[in-house]
Structure formats: structure tokens, C-alpha cells
Point group: C2
Chain length 372, copies 2
Amino acid sequence: MKKIEELKTIIVEKPLKLDCGKTISNFPLAYETYGKLNEKKNNAILAFHALTGDQFVTGKNPITNKSGWWSHLVGPGKAVDTNKFFVICANVIGGCIGSYGPNSIDPNTKKKYGTNFPIITINDMVNAQYNLLEYFKIDQLFSVMGGSMGGMQVLQFVANFPNKSKTAIPIACTASHSAQNIALNELGRQAIMADNNWNKGDYLEGENSPDKGLSVARMAAHITYLSKKGLQEKFGRKLQERDDLKFSFDADFQIESYLRHQGSAFVDRFDANSYLYITRAMDYFDLVKQYDGNLSNAFKDSKVKFFIISFTSDWLYPTSENKEIVIALNAAGANVGFIEIASDKGHDSFLLEVPEFLKSINNFLEANYINL
Amino acid sequence: MKKIEELKTIIVEKPLKLDCGKTISNFPLAYETYGKLNEKKNNAILAFHALTGDQFVTGKNPITNKSGWWSHLVGPGKAVDTNKFFVICANVIGGCIGSYGPNSIDPNTKKKYGTNFPIITINDMVNAQYNLLEYFKIDQLFSVMGGSMGGMQVLQFVANFPNKSKTAIPIACTASHSAQNIALNELGRQAIMADNNWNKGDYLEGENSPDKGLSVARMAAHITYLSKKGLQEKFGRKLQERDDLKFSFDADFQIESYLRHQGSAFVDRFDANSYLYITRAMDYFDLVKQYDGNLSNAFKDSKVKFFIISFTSDWLYPTSENKEIVIALNAAGANVGFIEIASDKGHDSFLLEVPEFLKSINNFLEANYINL
């Protein structure tokens, strides 16, 4: 992974008590911003990234040299128009792009924390990022938004800070991580831990890092981001640069070649220990349990205007799970809109140029922007 | 893996030309039988096993000391009544329970073939097993049946030998392996190959075998055998022998513990190279392409009575893919029955005690048995 010398970073001095019981302080939180904060400081949107995302929402990501993960959605004149809005995004704690994580140096040992880093939760991530409001002297955000794990952070943020955002857009997510999704994350973790180079988390990045295991974890996850139909339409049984089967274990099929590429490209930009910590945080996420089995209580007396979005072919965080959030919000008497968008692109839809998705978000933001 | 000294085995002397172009001969085919072949020799059922199955259909499996994989279905007085029928099942070639496979000793090198074993196909498996009819002097089988990869073998058998079975029961399968299923198999292969012990297929079983990689492959596959709903109902977010989360990477959740167990138990009974070869055979399976894009041609003029079975929650070989077989059979004017069975147990339903499944098979067999 390339090192970026000058990531925008705040040092959070204030102690933060984590769910695991440990307290951290003076920890770095790397962030990026797009657009300008207006004088009233009421045009800020806090975007939360997903499992393998980072703070580089749009424009060129200096680490990958590729476009940011929400480039289709966020930018000047785009659905989330940075001519109007000030978009903030931070790398989650536990991450590997500048925020406090298992890659950080433990001041006591002068070595990377590795698996000595404390287990963190979605709640911890959100509480850490709340410090950005103080840093930018923002009393209330215009919106909090995110897909997948980003959506979980949206829900947790609103539950923790009911008056700190005017609107909220949780996308393709859940209020409680399902058994299947825990299983899929555990599969990824076991793939990493099966790599001898993982060495219980004590490895030197790039030199002897568990690239093979991380690559397998990514391949597994990537399959779940796409729909069966989408895969069939895009790849089917198309062969990879050959006229016929080669009767070997080479990548005969395009889908095999594609998956291998997804795996090997991923290890250049992500850290295996961070993958363990962030998937663990997702598995631990259960907002229903946090509110004693009644999700509505998480949104009690909420003044936030919600817009929930799901995708028809998303089998990882299916419409049914997104609807449970809608039901809980309605039961709490909250202001909530919901749309299920038709897409064959699976869970990945929230990261892709799906016109109805972009338009829906734009409409929702613009309608509420008028009321600013 | 335990060694079984006395597996029932035939040596196929006759040369068999494989799809890859190589010809094999004098190769072992390990098999098991249940019930008695009647005098007319018209009560025999050839059962084909799935990816990780073997010849031990019912009763006690001498290798695992557990019940055979179709114990619910096959046995005296059971749906496939061995008081009436003579059930034969062979370990597929490429397998690791006595049939010719990557674990076999290459007479030239006196070492295991490993990845020098030729790539085999479903067609090769079926052609190899056809020799059992000659061995038992059976002119026509009463039925061919199997689920998953076993179902693919049923389809291939009927296509290759249109008059050699009176009936055919392909269960929870497909006529052409989908992109998603190729992707999932490739994931398993990559998990095995990522294990340093795999050593390009050259390992000593038990001593330095790629157990970790094979275990990860099994975990990945196992998730796909179960439905999201089934997993949620069985495991949900239940904790494993603890009152609260431990904030560690231990198996906090029952589903994690279950998966780890599935992985570690599997390596005791299966060989990593066989896993590579058999998944490859599945990926290569495309009966549609074999018949120039028209599946109906595979069943042209077929006198076989078909019974196709799918399960509602099977997302690996969904009803839609099973229905494509039904449509092709109807288009060929074949005699075909079809049932979609309601089950939350996913693809695994065909291996489980699903009453409607057992009853349907029993009804079909009994109705046709009367006509013997």
C-alpha cells in the first residue's frame, strides 16, 4: 500500500470510551472534504464509507489513483452537488487510511498494534466521527448518508445524536447484522487467518503481509456484492481470451479472471488486520438489541427526515431488511420516505451509476435544501 | 483422512477417452450397493453423488463413521426402498474415496498424480460409471438419480445413453453452470491454492496437506448450501456459550462456531486436489453448449420418464434453472414431471429430511415400479 504523507487529519484529544470498555484519546481521524461550508454552517453532509471505502469520496483517490467511491454521486453539479453542499468523510477508526487502526503505532511498544488494537464497533466509529462537527463548528448537519456499513453508521449516528442532522439517508443496509452476513464476514476473516503470513496479526505490511488470504477474502465478498442475474448477464460462461476450454486450472472463464483481479488489486490498497476489525464491527452491529429489542426506540422523538433506499437485486442487505427500518421509523412517528430501486447490479448498486438512484438522492436533497 | 483397505472396486480395463483428449484405462472405480438386484435385473437405481459426496449413500459410512449422505432417503422401507430396489453408487473419477483421482499413484513416477491428473468432466464421470452396468450385467436401469452435481450426472447420463434408464430424477441442479456458481467454485479453488501447503498440488496427505485452505473453501461452500432465512432462523445472532460479546476474534456467534466446525471436519474426509478437480468438472458442465445451444436436442426421442425436483430457497441451483430443464424436456416431447418443494433449508434440502421431498420421490418410484 502506498503511503500518503499528508492526509488531512484531526487528532481527537478528548477521551472516547469504546464499547469494549477501553478508553482511547489523542487518536488520529483522517478525513476529506468537498465543496465549501457556508456561513450559516448548515450545508454540511457527513458521508460514511462502507467496509472497504475510505475518506476519498469523489475526485481522484491519491492512493489508488482511481476515482473516489462515490464519484458518480458526489461532485459539482452531481446528485450531491458540491456547489451547494459541504461533504465531509472520515476514514473509520479501525481503518487503514490514516485513522486510528491496527496499523497505527502503539506508543508503548513502538510497533504496530496489530491484533492488540481494541475491537471497535459501529457505535465507536460514529462517536469518533462526531468530533468532526466540533472541529468544523457545525451545530447541525444538513444530512448524514451512507450505504452498506455506511448506512449502519447513519442509523447509529441518528440514534446517538437525534438533533445533529436535519436529514438522514441510510442506503442498502440493516439495523441488525444477519446470520448469513456474519457467516460471510467470518469466511473472510478465516481466509485471512489461514494465511501463514498473517502471523496472528503481526506482519510487516508489504513485506510479508497476508496478501493471499486477504485476496481470497475480497473475492468472497465481491461475489456477494453482485447479483446472480447481473453476473450471468455480464459474464455468463464467456471465455477469457481463448476459443475453447483449456482443461486446466487457469482462468478459462472471464468471471474467474475478473475475480482474481479483484482480489489482487485489493491487497494493494487495504490492510488485512483492518479487514478483520471492520468486519467484526459490522457483525457486532445490532441497533435492535441496543434499544432492548425495539428498534423504534432508537428513533423516538426524532425530528430527522429519513430517506431509506434499497435495491431489488441486493441479497446481502435485501429490501426486507431495509423495510424493517422503515417500519420501525413509522412506528416511532418519524418522517420517513422509502424507495426500492430496480437494479440487477446487486448490493454494488449503491456504488454504481444507477440513474434512478442518483436522481432519487438528488430530489430528496434538493427538496430539503430549499427549506434551508 | 482414514484409509479404507477394502473398498469395493472395479477396475475398468476398457480405454476411456476423456474430454480433455487423454485416454485412461485400467482405472479403479470404487462403488457401493444397497438392496438386491432381482432376477430380471430391472430394479437397479444408479445414484450419483454431489461434489463432496461418496459411494456411501446410506447406512454407516466407514470413513466418517457417520450416516451416509442419503440415509433419510435410501434404505429398507424408506422412500427409495432397498427391499425393492438395488441401489448402486460409485465414487466419481477425480474423487478421493477409492476411484481414480489425483490421489491415485501414477505408475510412471510412483507418486500421487496431484495436478498431473487430467482435468475431468461430468461427461467423463458418467462414461466411467457406465461400466457398472456392464459389470452388473444390467441392460436397463430402473432409475438414475442425484442432486446438485449428482443431478448434472443424471442429465448427462440420459443424454449419453438414452435407453439405459427407465426413469430419471435430476434434483436441484442445472443444465449449464452459471457465472455465480463458477465464481463460487473459483473462490474455493483459490482458497486452496492460497495455502502454502498446497504446493501446486504436491503434498503428502495428512502430513503437510493444505487443510487451512480446504477448510476455508468448505466454509464458503457451506454458506451457499443454506438459505438466508434458514440461517437466520437456526442461528440468528445467538451467541456461542457466552452471555455477551467477548470483543475478540473468537467465535462469539454460533454461526461462526458452526462454520469453523464445518471447515475443520471436512478436511478429515476430503482431499484438496479432488476438490479442485471436481469443482472444475462442475464449472465445465454445459449440456446446452454440448447440444449446440439447444438443450432439447439432448433429450430428443427420449423414452425416459423424468421427474425434476427443485427447492424454493435454493439460491445455488434455483427453481428457474431447474425449470429450464423442464422446458427443454417438454420441447423435446419427453415425459416429464416437475415439483418445486417449499423448504427454508436452501440447496441442502436435497440432503435433509424434508418430508415432501421424500414422499415425492417415493410416489414417483412406486408408481413406476408397478409397471415393472
